[in-house]
């Protein structure tokens, strides 16, 4: 009973927050999804330079490497990702820049 009430209240607050974000500006940060390292979550141990399918999401339109603060990748995997991307670039599997 109590738990159910709390849940309902939480939901209400969430909605308020969203509305505030829209009209009152940056008073409270909008709800963000917690970022999880893709490689930890999916248990990808081996970030391989040959696997373009895996690497492409980390090099958006301008072909720059997606920073950690946006992708949520952990430090270790970002490092491995970087070497993999740099190797793939050398072999023209991934572009250095978008033309």
């Amino acid at each position: 009973m109590n738990g159910g009430g709390r849940k309902g209240g939480g939901g209400g607050r969430g909605r308020n927050q969203q509305a505030q974000g829209k009209d009152a500006g940056q008073r409270r940060p909008m709800f963000r999804r917690r970022k999880v390292c893709k490689f930890c979550a999916d248990k990808i141990d081996d970030i391989n330079y040959k696997d373009t399918k895996l690497l492409m999401p980390f090099v958006p339109e301008r072909a720059k490497i997606l920073p950690r603060r946006i992708s949520g990748t952990c430090a270790m995997h970002q490092r491995k990702l970087r070497t993999a991307i740099m190797r793939a670039r050398q072999l023209a599997l991934i572009p250095y820049t978008a033309e």
Binding site: D42, D45, D46, R87, Q90, L91, L93, P95, Y96
Partner: protein, 151 residues
């Protein structure tokens, strides 16, 4: 000192298949001469390049996994630089990395098994187990990530 290397080279697209195989035999000859061996050869075929190299827009990719010494790879590297039908090549040492990957993988399955036994479950994942609609891999240990640091 025997190490494992991966060699990928990109051949210009206007080279015939015969020449591609000839190049492969050339490399094989060097490898044989310097006391190594080719473990695997994989021709990826013709692919579009991500950017133009010279005037080329496409290339034939060939991957070779070679067991051998550093000197051997140095020699191959030198030779590939000279051959102008090869427009790009890359040599990467892979044995250490593979070892690390294998170790983390085995460690993970081992801990997951131990935990499952501790929870009173059979050590291996049963078919049809897990959260809705998830593929039946060993993905149910997502929440164990924190535990690995604690040990």
């Amino acid at each position: 000192m025997n190490r494992k290397y991966e060699l990928v080279y990109v051949i210009s697209p206007d080279v015939s298949d015969d020449q591609v195989t000839e190049l492969h035999t050339q490399i094989d000859a060097i490898v044989q001469r310097m006391g190594g061996q080719i473990e695997k050869t994989d021709n990826w075929g013709r692919r579009k390049l991500a950017y133009e190299i010279g005037r080329h827009k496409e290339g034939t990719y060939v991957l070779e996994v070679i067991n051998g010494s550093g000197d051997l790879m140095k020699e191959i590297d030198r030779r590939l630089k000279v051959i102008d039908t090869v427009i790009r090549h890359l040599v990467v040492r892979v044995d250490e990395e593979q070892g690390v990957v294998e170790r983390t993988r085995s460690k993970r399955t081992e801990t997951s098994r131990r935990r499952r036994v501790a929870r009173g479950l059979p050590p291996d994942r049963q078919p049809g187990e897990g959260q809705r609609g998830e593929p039946d891999e060993d993905r149910d240990e997502r929440f164990d990530m924190g535990g690995e640091e604690l040990r």
